[in-house]
């Protein structure tokens, strides 16, 4: 009986083993495209080994295009212009590209395989994006499921970002999770602190990275991230400002306010923070201290699920009905929104109905 089992498994193992070796050899031989040159913006030339995706080839050369899904072709964030050598657009890219982008040679860099010399065009600001090593110096429990974690850069390192931008935190393998993942988090500290950043991380049920940050990270641990990314940042104008955030969406707004506190401002600002119950409110004192500091700033927490026993005196329901009274001149108002896609859609609609120009509504969606 035992011999039969051994013999049977032996045959299967043998067959699969031989085929696997065959495939590895074929991969070596067929997927070997030699050295390829990537011409970036007609300014730099990178030499990489052909055969892997443009996204990965670039990141090996320390050029980090944003990518939320890690190259699976499901987020559409890693777009860049491929002027030459990219081959035809694949069916896997089409859902993410509109007509204008197709005409403009925009591709998903994770789907473009480097097989020959390639020339590409990427925004210069991408070169500002680097990978940082850091040490955790502080972990604050803001609420039962939101932590603020401070990442101190290595001595001598600095990070140059604009208030509102985000980084991609790289989690390390832990417990049953064998592979690290990257997840985007907005920087919540002000850009004037160049040696450290703070991230506000909400524990997502079953979330690989947030669970790692909440359960594994301790003060003194090392952590890596790339950045800064994003075009959600504070515009330097005189317009009135409406901030709207929910949950951990407080992070980029906190960065903007702290930055404004350093440089000073006379702008009229109102900050609506949507949460479910008083348990979900945090950093309230810091926000209220801004009311004294700025000439014209109001912090308005709005609770959607306050229970009678909470004794909540403030605003309740959704944030939208309160916009009307907060907006002085819709044409001269900028809105900065950060939260879930549903919240962003609802708020954008409400603001455009009130006459706020669409191009002045900036948002960072958790999607």
């Amino acid at each position: 009986m035992l011999i039969t089992i051994l013999k049977d498994t032996g045959v299967i193992t043998g067959v699969s083993g031989i085929l696997a070796i065959l495939l590895v050899i074929a991969e070596r031989w067929l997927n070997n495209y030699g050295d390829c040159k990537i011409n970036v913006n007609n300014k730099r030339e990178l030499t990489v080994k052909g055969g892997s995706s443009l996204l990965n080839s670039l990141s090996e050369e320390q050029v980090f295009l944003p990518s939320a899904c890690g190259g699976r072709g499901s987020c559409g964030a890693c777009k860049c212009k491929v002027l030459d050598g990219g081959g035809p657009v694949l069916p896997t890219e089409k859902p993410f590209l509109n007509q204008a982008e197709l005409a403009d040679n925009v591709r998903l860099s994770c789907q473009v395989k480097v097989k020959s010399d390639v020339s590409i065009e990427i925004p210069e600001s991408i070169f500002n994006i680097r990978q940082f090593s850091s040490v955790i110096t502080e972990i604050i429990d803001y609420t039962y499921d939101i932590k603020g974690i401070t990442f101190q850069l290595e001595p001598g390192e600095t990070i140059d970002f604009q208030a509102g931008q985000y980084v991609q935190l790289i989690s390390e393998p832990y417990a049953k999770v064998k592979q690290g993942v990257t997840r985007a988090y907005s920087i919540s500290s002000k850009p004037d602190d160049v040696n450290a950043i703070q991230l506000i991380i909400r524990l997502v049920p079953e979330g690989i990275c947030s669970t790692w940050a909440h359960t594994q990270l301790k003060v003194g641990d090392k952590a890596r991230f790339t950045g800064p990314y994003g075009d959600f940042y504070l515009r330097d104008t005189d317009a009135d400002i409406l901030f709207v955030a929910g949950g951990s969406g407080k992070a980029p707004i906190k960065s903007m306010l702290e930055h404004l506190a350093v440089v000073g401002t006379k702008r009229k600002m109102t900050y609506f923070f949507g949460a479910r119950t008083p348990k979900d409110l945090y950093l309230t004192e810091e926000m209220e201290s801004f009311e004294k500091l700025f000439d014209d700033f109001a912090y308005e927490p709005v609770l959607s699920h306050a229970a009678p026993e909470d004794n909540w005196q403030g605003k309740t329901g959704f944030v939208m009905p309160f916009f009307k009274d907060a907006i002085r001149d819709p044409k001269n108002t900028e809105a900065y929104l950060c939260g879930s896609p549903g919240m962003i859609d609802a708020v954008t609609k409400s603001l455009t109905d009130l006459g706020v120009p669409k191009e002045k509504i900036y948002f960072d969606s958790f999607g």
């Binding site: 049977d8 045959v11 067959v15 699969s16 085929l19 694949l90 896997t92």
Partner: protein, 195 residues
């Protein structure tokens, strides 16, 4: 089995078409049949894979599984052989025929899970075909599959400008067309029965 390999080849195309009489390989048949060009590419790939996997599986069955008396493992061995071969083919096509690779794109891996390919290997065992018969049957089945998907792709191309009831658009009308084609092919079945 007295049936000649030559007859088996033609029979596999027309009288017992793997798709239209056995309804195997439906998923890629329905999803790739939007354009004639990519249907052609996939059909050729399927024929190619069928010839080689049938041959390889015949050898594996008669020189590995039978001597060791482990015929019951044929499902696993056949699938491993098919998967490895398709992977190899994908690498080859990507390297030497980029245009074909781009037109098939993500659909190439679908061949691995194409039940027509697996089905042909199993029929070959059940019906006791010899090596030559198996290859003829495999090649014929591949061409039959190609024929079926080409016909559907052509018809779908014509349907594009026609009014199709909303609820039937896409897969719905394709299945109805396939059913009618299958009825037509039943007409051939008396000519050369192979079972």
């Amino acid at each position: 089995m007295e049936i000649s390999a030559f007859l088996l080849f033609w029979a596999a195309i027309f009288t017992s078409n793997i798709l239209l009489t056995n309804f195997l390989g439906m998923c890629s048949y329905l999803s790739v049949s939007k354009e004639v060009e990519s249907s052609m590419g996939l059909g050729i790939a399927v024929s190619f894979v069928l010839v080689f996997t049938t041959a390889l599986n015949w050898l594996a069955y008669h020189y590995l599984l039978v001597p060791f008396h482990i015929e019951y493992l044929q499902y696993i061995v056949f699938i491993i052989v098919i998967a490895a071969f398709v992977q190899l083919l994908e690498l080859l096509i990507e390297r030497f025929a980029p245009a074909l690779y781009y037109s098939l794109g993500i659909f190439l891996p679908l061949i691995t899970v194409n039940c027509a390919i697996f089905g042909v290997s199993l029929f070959m065992v059940i019906r006791n075909y010899n090596f030559l018969q198996s290859i003829a049957y495999g090649f014929g089945s591949g061409l039959g599959w190609l024929l079926a998907i080409l016909m559907l792709a052509g018809l779908r191309g014509k349907l594009r400008e026609k009014m199709v009831p909303a609820g039937l658009r896409g897969t719905g009308i394709s299945l109805i067309i396939t059913g009618i084609m299958a009825l037509a092919f039943v007409g051939f079945s008396g000519i050369a029965p192979i079972q």
